[in-house]
Subunit: 277 residues, 2 copies
């Protein structure tokens, strides 16, 4: 483990680290915010998964979550969005390859060797965090933006019992029916679409749902609405009678200005679940 | 005037614009945050001047001021830190030329033609804002970081009656005695050091002070403390009996993590002055 930077932030610390990942067969960078309370013992954890083209850094510097996490005494974890390094396969498109891991375990060449982002986020990174930081891993919640909203929702539904609450900002809600999804799932997972189902929040909502509260914010002026397909997920939530709050936010787009505006609500929403019982 | 982007943010709008500047003889870009209240009439204005290497964008995306400005119903203005364009003189150093205008009017070649940042911020941009946006120019306050903290303090003291309050994050506090100042003032203003005095917050504090409240935050772990010289300004404030709050913040460095941590305090401090009477 190598500490790349450490900055005082809202009474706590914002740390960037790299470590050797067995799942992804490369060094991975992530950042973690520890509130002041972490000095005195384990604190709850809120994961934030980022969108296409992002690294660990975008949300750390632009989403403004530290202010509210500090207020609630909650740690934040910002993973990267794909494996990295010169020997990692890539694609020219911004939405495939590096910066676009889609939180799946690739089974196809040339992606298979490094693109194991589901295992990395679901298993390797939480184990690493539990060993190295004062985190209460019995109190975890997860959120994310766009591709990261897709990741948050699909991880929450495929790891029952892991996360107490899940939220998303403008998630890719139905990737098996979208150009943000079909190309990537075909490339990473192959042409058997049965293998795509565990990575589609709408299909997972239809099949299993989530045992906890859900909060989703989606801007009405999002330039990617046709790719995100919020209507499919909203319908699935309603059909299942899944406890959830789905908000269409008037005038907001897909940017970090949208995310930062509603971050206070999301952190407060997760804090309620993380501190219950 | 050309609108480069417009994003909904905290119930208001974050807008980036470019316009032809007569003072700087080039197109200048700036950003402005308008809170929701601006729909109904003029709102007070808080200026934020940025530091070395920054554009209008850094503070807009990383300082987190919109949350608090929205709460207080205050507009934010983020100017650029120098003239821009292919025909604008530059220097290889990060702290001279583009991104390093130091908020002075250059009198020396080759800087004289474009580097008129004092006039741009003190006169041209406020006039442009008053004509084009619902801003109450009788209620202005100013803040800034590092070189921008220097700019905020020196503009506030050389434009008496303009700003109701001034604050700074880790300002370059005594540039005539620092390598962040002497090189630039020599280059932009020439070797008569009398012409430097109006651009040194410590000297201005000794000579005139400020007719209003001052708030200054400085991190104790700032990697540039030797260049910033907070002790000179703190001594001048105390010697003058200037109403001011000067806080040395334990553990904080020079980064935006420091700025965002204390931004709520700064906006609240300015709001009190902006809404008095």
């Amino acid at each position: 483990m190598k500490t790349l930077s450490e900055n005082a932030s809202f009474g706590g610390k914002q740390i960037v680290l790299s470590h050797a990942s067995a799942a992804c067969s490369c060094d991975m960078t992530f950042s973690v915010f520890l509130p002041e309370e972490a000095k005195d013992g384990p604190v709850p954890v809120l994961w934030f998964l980022s969108g296409l083209t992002c690294t660990h850094e975008n949300a750390m510097t632009k989403a403004g979550a530290q202010a509210w996490a500090a207020e609630q005494g909650i740690a934040l974890v910002y993973p990267d969005t794909s494996p990295r390094g010169d020997d990692v396969a890539d694609d020219e498109a911004y939405d495939f390859g590096k910066g676009a891991g889609f939180y799946v375990n690739a089974t196809q060449e040339p992606w298979r060797e490094h693109y194991q982002m589901y295992d990395y986020i679901a298993h390797e990174l939480p184990e690493f965090l539990a060993e190295n930081f004062p985190l209460d891993m019995s109190r975890q919640a997860i959120s994310g933006h766009s591709m990261g909203g897709h990741g948050a929702l699909t991880l929450a539904m495929t790891l029952p019992g892991r996360f107490r609450s899940v939220s998303a900002f403008a998630p890719i809600a139905n990737p098996t029916a979208s150009d943000w999804g079909r190309k990537q799932f075909l490339g990473y997972l192959g042409n058997n679409e049965d293998n795509w189902r565990a990575h589609d929040a709408t299909l997972l909502m239809q099949e299993k749902g989530f045992d906890g509260p859900i909060l989703i914010d989606q801007g009405t002026e999002d330039q990617f609405l046709d790719l995100l397909k919020p209507e499919a997920l909203a319908a699935a939530i309603a059909a299942r009678r899944q406890p959830a709050t789905f908000r269409m936010q008037k005038g907001y787009d897909h940017s970090y200005f949208f995310i930062s505006t509603f971050m206070e609500d999301h952190v407060a929403f997760h804090a309620e679940a993380l501190y219950s019982d």
